[in-house]
Amino acid sequence: MTQLRQIIATVIATLREIFDETAYSRFLARHAAISSPKAYAAFLREQQMLKARRPKCC
């Protein structure tokens, strides 16, 4: 049961990482901010330069 819980937790963590939810949490922690449209806009601005430079593969 513990192993199953660990697997589910890893799958969710993977999805959260792929979908940038974890990146947003880290952003909030780094800036000691709470989630809001303003904070998310700032996060997206920061991500824009990084994300848009990532090549996506063939």
Binding site: I18, F19, Y24, S25, Q47, C57, C58
Partner: protein
């Protein structure tokens, strides 16, 4: 587990794999089950991972569990973040898995299922996986430096320059080829066009929802987007059957090309949060779900392969693309076996997330194995179709004939029976007007996938839904690569132009954004236009050109890897990268030579230009095609010369190091012991 059962278990896996590969390779005259391909792949990858990657890790790279990675040393909570290995695996796989491993194997199936399958297995285990793993580890040891930077530092200035040119060329040609695949999949398909068109307002809605209503809840909004896309697929059926609305969405190839070019420009110039990011999330959601579903479908159905192991087209007269099995089967497979593009990801975001050096093996080698498995599934999807159906869908009208009856007669004459009535019934079953001449690989893959899905779930009644789900999946997938790729290309052009005039390099200056977006869109748009106007089916020229660029980039990556291995004093193990390098050089240089100078106009660009020039009719369209052929020949020639330069520079460097006339100095960052607890090390 003690030693003896372990040896027994691995011997059993190896024997099963050998049996499966033997069955695939030696069966003649009788159809085989697709599960043989799945078993061969799983066993090959398992044995390759357990033994070969471990050998590379321990003997060649001397992976150090005690050495701190850049994610640990430079942790900034933004770019450099020590991350769980499974999470990095997911991140890396999501970045490397594009449409290439789906389309390449489908096109290469014109030679039969055997060449593609064997190359996917061997190419991945000994080439692609090794390249991804080695470049990832070398980047981790150099603070996450990019391939271009590593080439400049370890080989020389030419190396850095060639890597830059190869990267931008491959991006442009990939985008042109990808856009052409979307055009061929959506032309005269109101259902497909409606569904894909609906993803734009859905993405805009997702962008606004994320920005205003539920900031940061990406998983939640992606799930919502997925439901809306499913509704759009369902609504597409109604649209295609509505005589008043269907014509609005029934577009010609030329119109679709213009629409996609405008879309690419908009996606590059608009704020990223509005369109690009939500579509990216939606695409990833659909991608991961569909690949998983396809794997389950194949295992549940265990379909029979109707394609023979080898077709008559191994002699180079194939209708889908001309050229012999060597080198063109290996150029066409591309990302399923080895992809130069992956080296950009392995030296991009991934090395900055790796928590410990040993994890590079699972992420680098393992994720490429998963990508290769996707290519095996694509081969299965193409080969479960009746060969006549497969060739009817994929052959251009210029080769098989303009009318359904003419095409059916030509294909039946090759020994692959198909009838115009049968193809019409299939088109009706999937909700299309016709399936003849739907080149590019995507429609054939969609029909194969719909066949597998509908046989496992829902029966023939839902074949059309599954087909359009597959088309939507591929088009969404490629459009995401297209919009993100255009933006990446724009930044690269801005970086280069910034050296000439500083304001052009500013990514927030709108005149520069518009000018460089237009430049990059014009570059791939011209390849797209050329493909749409080519009567022999532009994918015929464009996909091999893309394959050549991609494999040339892999040549650059393997040059960098071999150079570092030699400089590390491990020349005796350099065969792990040198053998795939020699193979790639022979494949890419032969293919490039043939694409430029082969006297057959279906293969050689210049021969095709000469043929057009000698025709009595000389319209503007023909003049343009002659120009395009010559341009393709020049692009290929320039790329080959540049890669030959980096190869020569590397070989001279190896000789100087090995003869002792030069002291090898590698540019690794200094050793710092890891802080991670011993129990986390394994």
């Amino acid at each position: 587990m003690t030693k003896s059962p372990q040896i027994l278990a691995w011997s059993a896996v190896s024997l099963l794999g050998a049996l499966a590969v033997g069955t695939i390779a030696l069966h003649r005259g009788e159809q085989i089950n697709a599960m043989w391909l799945v078993v061969a792949a799983v066993c090959s990858y398992t044995v390759g991972y357990r033994f070969y990657s471990k050998f590379v890790s321990a003997k060649v790279l001397a992976v150090d569990a005690l050495r701190a990675t850049p994610a640990e040393r430079l942790d900034d909570g933004r770019d450099f973040v020590p991350t769980n290995k499974w999470v990095v695996f997911g991140h890396h796989f999501a970045a490397i898995a594009g449409p290439g491993p789906l389309v390449g194997p489908v096109l290469a199936a014109q030679f039969g299922y055997l060449p593609g399958t064997l190359y996917i297995l061997a190419g991945a285990v000994f080439g692609g996986c090794v390249q991804d793993f080695v470049i990832l580890l070398f980047s981790v040891r150099r603070d996450g430096k990019s391939l271009t930077e590593m080439a400049r530092e370890e080989i020389g200035r030419v190396g850095g320059f060639v890597a830059y040119v190869a990267v931008i060329s491959i991006i442009v040609i990939l985008l042109g080829a990808g856009a052409l695949i979307v055009v061929n999949a959506l032309k005269s398909s109101p259902w497909g066009v409606f569904t894909i068109a609906m993803t734009i307002p859905i993405a805009l809605l997702m962008g606004l929802y994320l920005r205003r209503l539920r900031p940061g809840k990406v998983l939640e909004v992606s799930f919502l987007g997925f439901i809306l896309v499913m509704l759009a697929i369902w609504g597409g059926q109604w649209v295609s059957q509505n005589l008043a609305i269907a014509p609005w969405f029934t577009l010609t190839a030329s119109t679709l090309a213009v629409v996609i070019i405008i879309y690419g420009f908009a996606a590059s110039a608009l704020p990223v949060w509005l369109l690009l990011a939500p579509r990216d999330y939606l695409s990833t959601f659909v991608k991961l779900g569909t690949i998983g579903l396809l794997a389950l479908g194949i295992i549940a159905l265990r379909p029979t392969l109707h394609m023979p192991p080898l077709t008559r087209f191994v002699d180079g007269t194939g209708p889908i693309f001309a050229g012999k099995i060597f080198p063109f089967a290996f150029i066409t497979i591309a990302c399923g076996a080895i992809s130069g593009f992956h080296s950009l990801i392995s030296s991009g975001t991934t090395p900055k997330l790796i928590r410990r050096e040993p994890e590079t093996r699972m992420v680098g080698y393992g994720a490429m194995m998963a990508e290769s498995m996707v290519a095996v599934m694509a081969t299965i999807a193409a080969c479960v179709l009746q060969p006549g159906t497969y060739f009817a869908i994929n052959s251009p009208a210029g080769v098989v004939g303009q009318s359904p009856d003419a095409a059916a007669a030509t294909i039946t004459g090759w020994g692959f029976p198909v009838t115009a009535a049968g193809m019409q019934a299939l088109a009706q079953a999937v909700g299309e007007q016709t399936l003849f001449n739907r080149t590019g690989g995507a429609p054939a893959f969609a029909v194969g996938m719909a066949h597998i899905f509908s046989s496992s779930l829902g029966g023939q009644a839902v074949m059309a839904i599954w087909y359009h789900f597959a088309i939507m999946f591929e088009a969404l997938f490629i459009l995401t690569v297209l919009d993100a790729g255009t933006r990446v290309g724009r930044f690269m052009v801005q970086d280069a132009l910034g050296h000439i005039w500083k304001p052009l390099g500013r990514t927030s200056w709108y005149p520069s954004i518009l000018a460089t977006s237009a430049l990059i869109v014009a570059a791939w748009g011209s390849f797209l236009w050329q493909g749409v106007k080519d009567p022999l089916g532009g994918i015929n020229s464009l996909w091999p050109l893309f394959g050549i660029c991609n494999q040339l980039l892999a040549t650059v990556a393997l040059c960098v890897a071999t150079t570092i291995i030699v400089k590390m004093g491990k020349a005796r193990y350099s065969a792990v990268t040198l053998v795939p390098l020699v193979w790639l050089v022979s494949v890419t240089f032969t293919a490039s030579w043939q694409k430029m100078f082969d006297p057959n106009p279906r293969i050689g660009f210049l021969a095709h230009a000469r043929l057009l020039a000698s025709s009595a009719v000389r319209s503007h369209e023909i003049s343009r095609q002659i120009f395009n052929d010559r341009l393709d020949a020049v692009v290929t020639g320039v790329l080959v010369c540049l890669v030959a330069l980096i190869l020569l520079e590397s070989v001279f460097l190896w000789m100087r190091v090995l003869s002792g006339s030069m002291q090898a100095r590698i540019r690794e960052s200094p050793f710092v012991p890891t802080r991670f607890a011993p129990e986390e090390q394994g």
